[in-house]
């Protein structure tokens, strides 16, 4: 007779079981049930904090924007706010409103993205197709307003780089109206479609006590009943002049996390309308010095996934002494093991996806020393190695034509 108590250890990752970023789970199973999970992160460490110390504040702004591809404006704003606090820069009100507008549009695009991923993880791909189609409206709007669909580079030290003309307002409002209608449909779907509720209810449970104890942030914390939102608690940009509700839910499961994000979408639409209505006239930036006086500041920012925290220490030169970035996913990963415990292995992808993870952390050119057969290659050598590797296996990459390279 098989031993019912036998534990099986299954390694999952570093290729993510659900998303496109690497991290690794060591899952202990008894039958279908998960008894414990050990997490290993850091596969994507790029050394951005070190990189910031070697670049000027203005260069850092663009580097920091690339900490995350989805919430790029979040990191850039968190960083620039800290630098402005040290330099004692008071940015114009219009710049604050434009920063807030981009921030809320970013939340809309991020939450719609999440909704699609969540649908995909539970085999509801129609939802993925619908919500990602809707998300395109925001992405195209970003291209119109900022010149880019991602990494919008709206911030500069002392304000924003681009103004938004009053003639653009009607178009923004039209898109917000369309998205609001779609979101209402998704909310109705979530509340009435029984298969969806049944698939997500009770999955990935995280009690309020655990959420607080383990330091969960953002929608993950709010769906466990923790009433926290940096926009309200420690207001920045124009949030202290705008009305909004902090959405919480006490379901404490994946369904609750979906409900919170859908509710937040509705709040974002309302915020965008208020911003356009109240947008003050005036300049969009003040002149910032190249050298920032010695000092330090911590900036907090409610990104779509939770709180971004940036610490900057200036030493009087044009380069920072230290930049420290805490992205919300690092805070939320601490709760994943708890959410998975006593759950089923089959729920792992949706539970992991439900914190809306973004494992944007780490490296590009780390040379690993020691170990058998270890070798450091330059780019050219790596290309040659790749060509040779494929040729030995009967593939001739030299016959593949790359567009723009027809002469070769």
């Amino acid at each position: 007779m098989p031993d019912k108590k036998r534990t099986v250890r299954v390694p999952i990752g570093p290729q993510h079981p659900a998303l496109k970023e690497p991290e690794s789970f060591m899952v202990d199973l008894q039958g279908e049930k998960i008894t414990s999970v050990a997490l290993r992160l850091g596969y994507n460490h790029r050394g951005i904090e070190k990189g910031c110390e070697e670049r000027t504040y203005m260069q850092d702004l663009y580097l920091v924007e690339r900490v995350c591809g989805i919430c790029s404006h979040s990191h850039a704003t968190a960083f620039v706010q800290a630098v402005e606090e040290i330099a004692g820069l008071e940015i114009p009100r219009r710049a604050k409103y434009i920063r807030t507008l981009i921030a809320e549009l970013e939340r809309v695009h991020s939450h719609l993205l999440w909704l699609g991923v969540a649908g995909h993880e539970i085999g509801f791909d129609t939802l993925l197709m619908y919500s990602w189609r809707d998300r395109e409206l925001v992405m195209d709007l970003f291209a119109e307003l900022t010149g880019n669909r991602v990494n919008y580079a709206m911030n500069t030290l002392g304000g924003v780089r681009r103004d938004i003309a009053a003639e653009q307002f009607p178009h923004i409002l039209k898109i917000v109206d369309a998205l609001e209608e779609r979101t209402k449909y998704y909310i109705e779907l979530a509340m009435t479609e029984e298969t969806l509720a049944q698939r997500l209810s009770g999955v990935g449970r995280l009690s309020k006590e655990d959420a607080v104890r383990l330091g969960a942030v953002g929608p993950t914390a709010r769906a466990s009943g923790a009433d926290r939102d940096t926009r309200r608690d420690d207001p920045y940009a124009a949030y202290d002049e705008l009305e909004f509700r902090v959405i919480t839910d006490d379901r404490c499961d994946v369904f609750g996390r979906a409900v919170v994000r859908l509710g937040e979408l509705m709040q974002s639409y309302s915020l965008i309308r208020q911003i356009l209505k109240q947008m003050p006239e005036g300049p969009i930036a003040v002149k910032a010095p190249l050298k920032i006086p010695a000092g330090e500041a911590v900036s907090r920012y409610e990104a779509p996934r939770g709180e971004d925290v940036h610490y900057v220490r200036a030493n009087g030169t044009d380069k920072p002494e230290r930049v420290k970035v805490r992205a919300p996913t690092l805070a939320n990963t601490q709760s994943i093991a708890k959410m998975l415990e006593d759950g089923y292995l089959a729920d792992l992808p949706i539970v992991v996806a439900a914190i809306d993870p973004c494992f944007s952390c780490t490296d590009r050119t780390i040379a690993v020393r020691g170990g058998r057969d270890s070798k450091t290659m330059g780019w050219e050598e790596l290309v040659q190695y790749g060509v040779r590797w494929y040729r030995e296996r009967g593939v001739d990459p030299s016959r593949i034509k790359v567009r723009g390279d027809e002469s070769a």
């Binding site: 050990a38 330091g215 608690d233 230290r322 805490r326 601490q334 270890s374 290659m377 330059g378």
Partner: protein, 154 residues
């Protein structure tokens, strides 16, 4: 009295040694400078008695002979307390995981990137550097420089 000012008064009443070492930067930012010896006591008091239940992160700084450490805590009303202390390089700090179990990952970051020593940290994999990264190389130390692109191992 504002929230920040009343926090200063409360702290100085409990720890007279902190007189003059607690500063209010602005309405929601308080900085507390403590010696390493009293740090655990002050930190526990903030977390357990004064409502600083949001643990944000730890910032590590290379300050020459010392590692500068800033523990960023926040309260639900948005008030943030930044507790600064210094630890001579080579000596160890007590772990905060007994108060904030989720804090371990930030301590592992200090170990990998700045060569900190943390006492009482539960077993676990390193973060964020790869398993075969040399144990004596800590990239965030000021004297650490990345090797030239394409350079071979010594």
């Amino acid at each position: 009295m504002s929230e920040a000012e009343s926090l200063v008064a409360q702290l100085v009443a409990t720890f007279p040694a902190l007189n003059g070492r607690v500063t209010v930067q602005r309405a929601k930012r308080v900085w507390i400078d403590v010696d390493r010896q009293v740090f655990p006591e002050v930190f526990r008091h903030l977390a357990k008695d004064l409502g600083f239940e949001v643990f944000c992160m730890i910032t590590g700084l290379d300050e020459g002979a010392d590692l500068g450490l800033i523990y960023h805590l926040a309260r639900n009303d948005g008030l943030m307390a930044n507790v600064k202390t210094r630890c001579p390089k080579g000596e160890s700090m007590e772990t905060i995981t007994s108060i904030f179990p989720g804090g371990g990952i930030y301590e592992r970051e200090l170990i990998d990137l700045l060569g900190a020593h943390i006492e009482g940290l539960p077993e676990g994999s390193r973060y964020p550097l790869p398993d075969n990264w040399p144990k004596d190389e800590h990239p965030l130390l000021k004297d650490w420089k990345p090797r030239e692109k394409g350079a071979q191992d010594a």
